[in-house]
């Protein structure tokens, strides 16, 4: 499995699209640096102000969209010129190939999140914040956003294997991602909408009683449940796909 992962990473590394990894964090940085900081008041940590601003655009839009594009990228070169049949005629199981592609995506999303963490820190340093960096809270947000993206990545991987075209999975991704902006403002709908979870789990103003910014039962049912459905559908579909 490590061998497949190395091969996958090699193929992806050599495609220029890898630069897309930097888009999300750079946009975050840009928003953080140019936006007028919201006055969070005296009693709140200075760092919260860029966090609120940056997180919204980043978590509702760019994180889901870019992770979806990544899923399409790592399937695109398999679709293009018979890559699937070449890959699957090697001594590998389809299960491992699927798992490896998923694992690589999840690692890349984690990498994006860490870059984003760097962007947050850079904003603070450039703006000369004096308050201590709220490390635990930021980590919660970074890891939370990562976990919440996992089901979306699973769905995008499934769709990217299913559709040869680059546009189809992207369209589905956009269709589900755009309503997030509305969903996060809805108390009734927001907690159940999988695409709204990256924002909810990165929302530093959320409840801090639990490990993450959303309650455990919401994490398990909405994030865990949608992950299970999307992942299994993709996994089973790939097992049966005639090549």
């Amino acid at each position: 499995m490590l061998a497949i992962l190395q091969s996958e990473w090699f193929k992806l590394r050599k495609s220029k699209i890898i630069l897309i990894l930097f888009v999300g964090p750079l946009i975050g940085l840009f928003i953080g640096l140019t936006g007028n900081l919201i006055d969070v008041g005296e009693q709140m940590n200075q760092w919260y102000s860029p966090l609120f601003m940056m997180n919204f655009t980043y978590a509702t839009l760019f994180l889901p969209l870019i992770s979806g594009v990544l899923a399409s990228v790592i399937c695109r070169y398999e679709h293009q010129e018979g890559g699937w049949k070449q890959l699957l005629a090697l001594p590998v199981t389809r299960g491992k190939v699927f798992l490896t592609k998923y694992l690589l995506l999840v690692l890349l999303v984690l990498f994006i999140q860490i870059l984003y963490l760097g962007a947050i820190y850079a904003v603070g340093v450039i703006k000369g914040f004096t308050d201590p960096f709220p490390l635990t809270i930021v980590w919660k947000s970074i890891i939370g956003g990562w976990v919440a993206t996992m089901p979306l990545v699973a769905l995008q991987l499934w769709l990217s294997i299913l559709f040869k075209s680059f546009a189809a999975p992207f369209a589905v991704n956009v269709i589900f991602t755009l309503p997030t902006i509305l969903a996060v403002n809805s108390e009734r709908f927001g907690p159940y909408y999988p695409w709204a979870q990256p924002f909810s789990m990165m929302y530093v103003g959320g409840s801090t009683d639990d490990v993450f910014f959303i309650p455990w039962d919401q994490l398990l049912t909405v994030v865990g449940g949608s992950f299970l459905i999307f992942f299994l559908c993709g996994y089973i579909y790939f097992q049966r796909k005639p090549i």
Partner: protein
């Protein structure tokens, strides 16, 4: 006998269409097996099933004496393959393409230069495959198939798109492999001339059915000469010959005598003349392999 590939009643249905119908392939070690059939005969579909890319609707595949279903991974470690048009990653160079595969099959890096040299692609090693000609892509595909030093090489129409000198080159390469490395090779083609020059065993498939499977010598036996008679009332003439115990065939209004000794021909002619049948021509007719192939596939259609 121990077979490298043995299938039993292998079948594949697409909807209602039986693309592969009860095929029994037997390939012994060290053979170059020519898998011959016209377009759409079911060659690629069969090969896909041999590699586990497609599940058979029914039937069994055993490779190296092991069941493909339960030991696919162990089998594929010793197989190199090229299915249909060559597969490649367009954004990578030839070398990088091989490297992506090498990481999985786990052979030393030096092997990449070896196979590139074998298919004479070393000059284009660092070019993006996107810009390759079809022949160059085909060579890369063969290089990829050779990468893991396979014991069994499965090549689906490997000379597709090669120029004449390329065809000869690849043919010589393929021919040398069983001797040099003890490889067994399955090579498919829709050109009989191609298979004739390379194979030791031949399997002919048409409309999903295997209609012939034997050594190339046995196949060439079909190419024996005939004496061809052009006569009036050919139906009547043919029956007359058969009635007197002579071997004769009727084809396209001609009578074909397979026993071509002078005496036999003389007897046949005499018999026909006595029956009042006019004889217009008596000539020798050598059937080419192409004719046999056409005939075999036609018979299958009629039957």
């Amino acid at each position: 006998m121990e077979y490298i590939i043995q299938t039993k009643n292998l079948s594949k249905k697409f909807g209602k269409e039986l693309a592969v119908n009860g095929v029994d392939i037997r390939i012994a070690k060290g053979e170059i097996y020519g898998f011959l059939g016209p377009n759409g005969a079911g060659k690629s579909t069969t090969i896909r099933m041999l590699l586990g890319l497609m599940k058979p609707t029914s039937g069994k595949v055993a490779i190296f004496g092991k069941d493909l279903k339960s030991e696919r991974i162990n089998i594929l470690k010793k197989v190199g393959s090229l299915v249909e048009n060559p597969s490649y990653y367009p954004h990578l160079t030839a070398k990088e393409n091989l490297e992506a595969i090498r990481k999985i099959v786990g052979v030393p890096k030096t092997r990449i230069d070896e196979v590139l040299k074998t298919v004479r692609l070393q000059d284009a090693a660092n070019k993006k495959v996107k810009g390759f000609s079809l022949g160059m892509k085909q060579r890369l595909g063969i290089a990829t198939a050779l990468l893991n030093k396979p014991e069994l090489l499965i090549l689906d129409e490997p000379t597709n798109g090669l120029d004449p000198s390329g065809i000869i080159e690849i043919r010589e390469l393929i021919k040398s492999l069983p001797e040099k490395y003890g490889m067994t090779i399955l090579i498919s083609s829709h050109l009989l001339s191609e298979i004739d020059q390379i194979a030791t065993t031949v399997g002919i498939i048409t409309k999903g059915k295997m209609i012939f499977q034997d050594s190339i010598e046995e196949m060439r036996m079909f190419a024996r000469q005939y004496i061809k008679l052009k006569v009036s009332q050919h139906e009547h003439a043919w029956r007359t010959l058969l009635a007197s115990g002579m071997k004769a065939e009727l084809e396209d209004g001609h009578i074909l005598l397979s026993d071509q000794t002078d005496q036999h021909v003389a007897e046949a002619v005499q018999l026909l003349v006595q029956q009042g049948i006019s004889i217009y021509r008596v000539e020798e007719d050598k059937k080419s392999l192409e004719d046999i192939f056409l005939q075999m596939t036609k018979e299958e259609l009629a039957g």
